[in-house]
Amino acid sequence: MELDFSFFDGAAISSFIAKGMLFSVQLTLMSMVGGVVLGTLLALMRLSGRSWLAVPAAAYINTMRSVPLVMMILWFFLLIPLVLGRPMGAELSAIVTFTLFEAAYYSEIMRAGIQSLPRGQIFAGHAMGMTYLQTMRFVVLPQAFRNMLPVLLTQTIVLFQDTSLVYAIGAYDLLKGFEVLGKNFNRPIESYLVAALIYFAICLSLSMLVKRLQARIAIIR
């Protein structure tokens, strides 16, 4: 079979790809921010030493981590309208799902980051007269964030790849853009190939950036 990529030009990008790319990036960034905030809270709950906080957090994290993301996307798409009593767009539903789902993964990273710090840091905070939350806010979390930044960003690259799974509910993301483009020009094969190439280029360059960042911010002890 002859491959013909001539359909892939500026017009194709602006009318099919840009819209999908925008949503994929938006979904990635929003669920990263939401997921890190929520994940940090979950990690703090889990490490608080109070079982009424730790047990629900652990249950939430373990449940999210044992269910395939596709199933989670389908679950939320089914349940949100039942709870709200009105339908919710696939895009909005995806943002909610990804935030709640990724929070579980980010929280495990944050937990590892907090636990990797010497115990003396917490004692020092308490000795200075800080409360538990103040110790976390001013002493522990800033260090945990810095140590875990490369891992958090690597997880975000995985998250960006996973956004393609909104395919299951038909949201218009980057991959969907390529699919529609391929259908329109009757060139699905070439379109999927370009999609693979673009995802590869984006994710490879991001992961190389993370590697460089890792070398730069590592705290020398």
Binding site: M1, P68, M71, W75, L165, Y167, A168, C203, S207
Partner: protein, 246 residues
């Protein structure tokens, strides 16, 4: 809202409730469909796991050899299969490759999905294997070579017996991931659990019951793999290492 699990006893074709909840060959029930879908999920996952372990171990080993070309091949493999979303890789294997290489048209689509999931996971396994080998003291390799072993012999008798036992815990979580990731096969109409969930939900409008059952089956599968791997881990533990050797 009330749950109505009788939906599983319904015949798919007739829509009527079947007597034994299992249906007949001509009118199978949703329960029977779901069990067969579970079989497909396990088949995709286990076959992919074999592909992933094979290629992952080889590529992981290549990345630790002193030969630059081999290291490059191993690294390129890892980066290629790690940086493209699984769903896109599934499309490339299932839709693109048979068009570009026409001899692949005779390969069943199921196997193409197995290759996609297997190669995707092999990149992660290669990383674990590489890390496992590199975690060994450097003296082990030198000792092997100093004993007059060739490089392959050093790997076979000195490095791998240790490294492969060290990497079992991370491989356990990869095996559980492969069960979860097999759900992506829905996109190319492999009749596995997620595909079943989507179609049965559409046909019966009993989404909650069906999703609940499917989610539990995913739980059960991942949990079983986890227990099996833990058992294996206990059997193969390296005595004296952290992680609780005897």
């Amino acid at each position: 809202m009330s749950l109505a699990f009788q939906v599983f006893c319904q015949g798919i074709a007739s829509g009527a409730s079947t007597n034994d909840c299992f249906g007949t060959g001509s009118d199978p029930s949703y329960l029977r469909w779901m069990i067969s879908a579970w079989g497909w999920t396990l088949a995709v996952a286990l076959l992919s796991l074999i592909v992933a372990l094979t290629f992952g171990s080889v590529m992981g080993v290549l990345r630790t050899t002193p030969n630059r070309a081999l290291v490059w091949i191993g690294s390129a493999w890892t980066e290629l299969f790690r940086n493209i979303p699984l769903l896109v890789q599934v499309f490339v294997w299932y839709l693109v490759l048979p068009e570009v290489f026409s001899f692949l048209k005779v390969v069943p689509g199921f196997l193409m999905v197995v290759m996609a999931l297997g190669f995707f996971t092999s990149a992660r396994i290669a990383e674990q294997v590489r890390a496992g080998i590199q975690s060994l003291p450097r003296g082990q390799r030198s000792a092997g070579l100093a004993m007059g072993f060739t490089l392959p012999q050093t790997y076979r008798y000195v490095l791998l017996p240790m490294a492969l036992r060290i990497v079992i815990p991370p491989l356990t979580s990869e095996s559980m991931n492969i069960i979860k990731n097999s759900s992506v096969a829905f996109a190319v109409s492999i009749a596995e659990l997620t595909m079943f969930a989507m179609q049965a939900q559409e046909e019966t409008s009993r989404g909650v019951e069906i999703y609940l059952a499917v989610t539990l089956l995913y739980f059960a599968s991942a949990f079983t793999i986890n227990r099996m791997a833990r058992f294996l881990e206990g059997q193969l533990q390296v005595p004296g290492m952290i992680g609780g050797g005897k």
